[in-house]
């Protein structure tokens, strides 16, 4: 009897954990016309403004969420490594060269609207916001989805020097 209860509790705990993970996952969305494969390395280049064009020549239009939002914090940790604050020096250095960070939009809905309407756009939202993706949007990658076979990524990733042949 006890083993059955124990197993039941473990299953419920596991389901609860799975639910939590699903709520925390981040969906990377791109304009439907963007056909480039999106991986974490690409995200890093795009959101650090090191890649400015897609392979078809269309300019990248990346958008962020507010710095203190949960989805931004999660995205920064998963895609860039580290915290939002870790990159303040990087952006300051880049600003010296006239380059601003990706624009900030206030909500998932604003990001989805912008990405759907803007060629070359890329953004990220909480995964629950794209359970039914609106037209004009492609979900290119999901971050933070737990998988027993997925290798644990290193999260300590120092911001690169901004002075590289700017």
């Amino acid at each position: 009897m006890v083993p059955v209860r124990l197993i039941t509790v473990l299953i419920l705990v596991a389901l609860g954990a799975r639910t939590t993970i699903a709520q925390d996952a981040v969906a990377v969305v791109v304009h439907a016309a963007v056909q480039d494969p999106i991986d974490v390395a690409t995200l890093r280049r795009v959101f650090l403004v090191r890649q400015r064009f897609w392979s078809d020549g269309i300019a990248v239009r990346a958008v962020n969420q507010p710095a203190r939002s949960a989805v931004r914090i999660r995205f920064t940790r998963e895609a860039l490594g580290g915290t939002v604050q870790d990159y303040s020096t990087y952006w300051n250095d880049l600003w010296f060269h006239g380059t601003a960070p990706p624009a900030t939009l206030a909500s998932d809905q604003a990001v989805l609207l912008f990405v759907a309407r803007t060629p070359g756009a890329i953004g990220y939202v909480d995964e629950v916001s794209v359970s039914e993706p609106p037209s004009g949007i492609r979900v290119a990658l999901r971050l933070g989805v737990a998988s027993p076979r997925a290798p644990q990524r290193e999260t300590q990733h120092a911001p690169p020097p901004a002075s590289w042949v700017r």
């Binding site: 390395a41 900030t104 120092a158 020097p161 002075s163 042949v165 700017r166």
Partner: protein, 376 residues
């Protein structure tokens, strides 16, 4: 007549200097309050934008090792205007107003009131190919490309980062960046033909009268970046920069009477550079080395430094640097620097440091330095 012109220049200099100091103070205060409201990372504007206005300001005080007097060594205010005309064409202009210079290089002491530091346009064909035309920061080493006071670890700039080459080049550059085996990499090929007809005869800084060079940088492994620079340069520098005395720091107001002391090289010389940056957990280790080859008529020059910044918490870092410089003519100098670097609210940075000149005390800028600066 010359004296009258000089007096007028001196008066204008004082006016510009006073204005720069006042504006700098105002900019610092403004930046402080504005930055306190900003989110991190502070985004001056959405991208792309047709016009973005920014800049930086700094005030630096110094007390020489052999003096008890603390003086305002420099007030600096720089305005940066940038933007995108299209998705492929961008521009940038930087105008600097400097009250006086405390840089430890005699050739930089005078006539630096107002200057166009950068003025260029970029045309991007792709991430791998970008054309830059105009006046830009010479792509040698890391420091020179990020030399603004609020962005550097120390108030005193290493001699390595400007002594052997011109900080700015006027010409064209091809540059690009991409990924090699999932590691970032970038390159630049640049040419500065030397606009002889446009140069200012009163220019006190080292200039290129002709240069062509290349730079490449690659992320070797996570947190470790390597840069290599190479160039062939013809330089024009004040004669005072050619010997041991070039490291002297004249007193404020002291004039260089030898207006004909400029010397220009007739032949190109090889210049090589190497820089390394390692970052992890808030710590940064950086090293830059520059080597200017000798020629038939001129000796060579070598310089290099190693710098370590360690986080102490609360935005405070301890910074240490060891530098060695062998000037064109003269014996090797050693410079030791230790200090604190604090990044305050927003983009305000405060630095307190002491530089010690090892072998020849008094021959280079040494003593205590305090600077307050901000990017806005």
């Amino acid at each position: 007549m010359v004296r009258i012109v000089r007096r007028m220049t001196s008066r204008a200099y004082r006016i510009v200097a006073s204005s720069a100091a006042v504006f700098t103070l105002a900019a610092l205060l403004g930046a402080w309050t504005a930055a306190a409201r900003a989110q991190l990372p502070a985004a001056p504007a959405s991208s792309p934008s047709r016009i973005q206005v920014g800049g930086y300001a700094s005030l630096t005080w110094s007390r020489a090792a052999d003096s008890t007097r603390v003086r305002l060594a420099e007030g600096n205010l720089a305005a940066i205007l940038s933007g995108s005309l299209t998705s492929r064409i961008t521009y940038l202009a930087e105008l600097d107003a400097v009250s006086s210079s405390r840089e430890n290089y005699a050739g930089r002491q005078d006539d630096r009131q107002l200057e166009v530091a950068r003025l260029y346009a970029d045309v991007s064909y792709s991430d791998l190919l970008r054309l830059r035309v105009g006046r830009f920061l010479t792509p040698i080493g890391q420091w020179n490309e990020i030399h603004a006071e609020p962005l550097t670890w120390t108030a005193v700039r290493p001699l390595t980062t400007y002594r052997s080459f011109a900080k700015y080049s006027t010409g064209a550059a091809l540059a690009g960046q991409g990924s090699i085996l999932s590691r970032d990499a970038g390159y630049a090929v640049w040419v500065a033909p030397g606009l002889l007809g446009m140069r200012d005869d009163d220019e006190e800084e080292l200039e290129f009268s002709g240069a062509v060079g290349t730079r490449t940088a690659v992320e070797l492994t996570r947190g470790l970046w390597l840069g290599l620079s190479a160039a062939v340069v013809r330089e024009r520098r004040p004669v005072s920069a050619l010997d041991d005395d070039s490291l002297e720091v004249p007193e404020p107001g002291e004039d260089d009477e030898d207006e004909d002391d400029e010397r220009e090289e007739r032949e190109g010389r090889a210049l090589g550079g190497f820089d390394l940056t390692y970052r992890t957990r808030g710590m940064e280790l950086r090293s830059e080395v520059v080597w200017l080859a000798p020629s038939d008529s001129r000796p060579g020059e070598r310089a290099g430094f190693v710098q370590l910044a360690l986080p102490l918490g609360g935005g405070l870092h301890a910074v240490g640097r060891a530098e060695s410089v062998t000037p064109l003519a003269g014996s090797r100098r050693e410079l030791w620097l230790g200090g604190l670097h604090w990044r305050g609210p927003g983009r305000v940075v405060v630095k307190l440091e002491h530089q010690h000149a090892g072998r020849v005390p008094g021959a280079v800028a040494h003593g205590w330095f305090l600077s307050v600066s901000s990017l806005f």
